[in-house]
Amino acid sequence: MNVAAERTPLLRVEGLSAGYGEMLALREASLEIYPAEIVALVGSNGAGKTTLLRALSRVVRSTGRIVFNGHDLDVLTPDEVFGLGLVQVPEGRQLFDRMTVQDNLLMGAYRRDDKAAVLRDLDRMYAMFPRLKERTRQLAGSLSGGEQQMCAMARALMAAPVLMMVDEMSLGLAPVVVEQLMGVLDAIRDEGVTVLLVEQDVQLALSTADRGYVLETGRIVHSGPASELIDDPAVRQAYLGL
């Protein structure tokens, strides 16, 4: 991705620190994401990945700079950040369990007023996830784990994201389902949506992403093209058990 370096980043994070009370879960993290990239943010449990996402969504307070698409996020509310197209697929899916699949997808488009475009996107989602199309009237809580993850991703896409942040997508899912979901990420990137993939499964994330950042106890310790990171001896030893 040498081309990427010459473009302006979609998201630029500089010296970001955030935490809960006295404890800093994230220290001086800096990263950049360019348009239509898939960037992996990897690290083990407790490394600060989710805190970084929360800081980006402005759910936790932070110091440092976050610039998204020319806007300083520091001063915005979660609501306004969402309005700029920074959309999360939360860890654990967080579907509306007792609502139908279709209603879940429509909730993704809650803030959109262009009704015709929303309906077009709904059709697009059903084309992208045929499994969901078979289950439009089924309650989201009754879906299988893989289908629920599809539903969560489709719901996020219904919000017309500029940057989609996917938190722990693979957790608890069968490898064949994960592979299918990775294919979907590729497809939506081809449509121009940028993806920040936050994963504990380092191998998986780096084999799909263009570039990667490795978080360890709140600091970014490695970064670079995913193909280089996956071959980096330090990364291999720490995360891949090789």
Binding site: S57, P78, G83, V87, R98, D103, M107, Y110, R111, A159
Partner: protein, 287 residues
């Protein structure tokens, strides 16, 4: 047998009104987790709005319903924005305290403003009725029943089909996710409470056409709405219709066969039974 049929019809007609009374309480309870102990007092206010519209401006009580619903909606939105948002998702006890306080304040303000006199809304057609075989159907009660059922089903469709309705259900189910997708909870809660009170306002107008109004009717109406919400479950407005009809019929039959003073014993006895046997309500999902 004729008497039984008549009492059954009376019970069903009353049950429709009960359903719309309880619907506002159930909506607020389900979404905001506030058991609004002042719900009956708001029904009382709605009844007085209708009464003043009728006696002061000669607006037919049924045509006045949208006005009293709107007045109560505005009051509800403002109360939620200014006061009740402080206790949303707070421990249940706080919400009970604050709404109980509201009930006391509203009742005494009503006593000062409207006096303790009993009032009735008596449109010219108040005495009319239809004779269906052995059964007499009073026109006003029938109209109140129809309006109540239409309102309840309308609310159901609103919750299922509209963007705001979906957001209300979504917020009730998963606040975190709803916020992630751009729901602004303070506004949404205020809309929900406003809608709950709008239903109370309409229910009050209907109540005024079939029964007497005084400032103290609130407590009993809250208790009945509570019982119906429990019996019908909080998930589904149709459950509230079933709960309302059930309570109306059981109360009427109890009054006929056991004694007029035992109506409330029957309704709260059933409430206890439902809580023991089927805590999620007759139509609610099983826990």
């Amino acid at each position: 047998m004729d008497l039984f049929a008549q009492v059954l019809v009376n019970g069903i007609l009353l049950g429709g009104l009960y359903a719309v009374m309880a619907l506002g309480l159930a909506l607020v309870w389900g979404v905001l987790n506030i058991v609004n102990l002042a719900h009956g007092a708001f029904i009382m206010l709605g009844a007085y709005v209708s009464w003043y519209l009728y006696t002061g401006a000669h607006i037919d009580p049924f045509l006045g319903l949208p006005i009293s619903a709107f007045v109560l909606f505005v009051l509800g939105y403002a109360l939620q924005r200014g006061l009740l948002n402080l206790v949303v998702r707070a421990p249940m006890f706080n919400t009970l305290l604050i709404t109980f306080g509201l009930e006391v304040v509203l009742t005494y303000l009503a006593q000062i403003a409207f006096s303790a006199d009993f009032r009735t809304i008596n449109p010219p057609y108040a005495g009319n009725s239809w004779q269906l075989g052995p059964v007499t159907v009073p026109v006003v009660r029938f109209a109140a029943f129809v309006v109540a059922i239409v309102l309840t089903i309308g609310m159901w469709i609103f919750l299922l089909r509209t963007r705001l309705g979906r957001a209300i259900r979504a917020t009730a189910q998963n606040l975190v996710a709803a916020r992630l997708y751009g729901v602004e909870p303070r506004h949404l809660y205020a809309m929900t409470f406003g809608l709950g009170l709008a239903l109370a306002g309409a229910a009050g107008g209907l109540y005024g056409t079939v029964s007497q109004i005084n400032p103290y009717i609130g407590g009993t109406l809250t208790a009945k709405s509570f019982a119906i919400s429990i019996i019908g479950g909080l998930d589904n407005p149709l459950g509230v219709i079933v709960g309302g009809l059930f309570l109306g019929v059981v109360e009427s039959l109890t009054k006929l066969y056991i004694g007029p003073t035992y109506g409330d014993v029957a309704s709260f006895g059933i409430l206890l039974l439902v809580l023991i046997v089927r805590p999620s309500g007759l139509l609610g999902r099983t826990a």
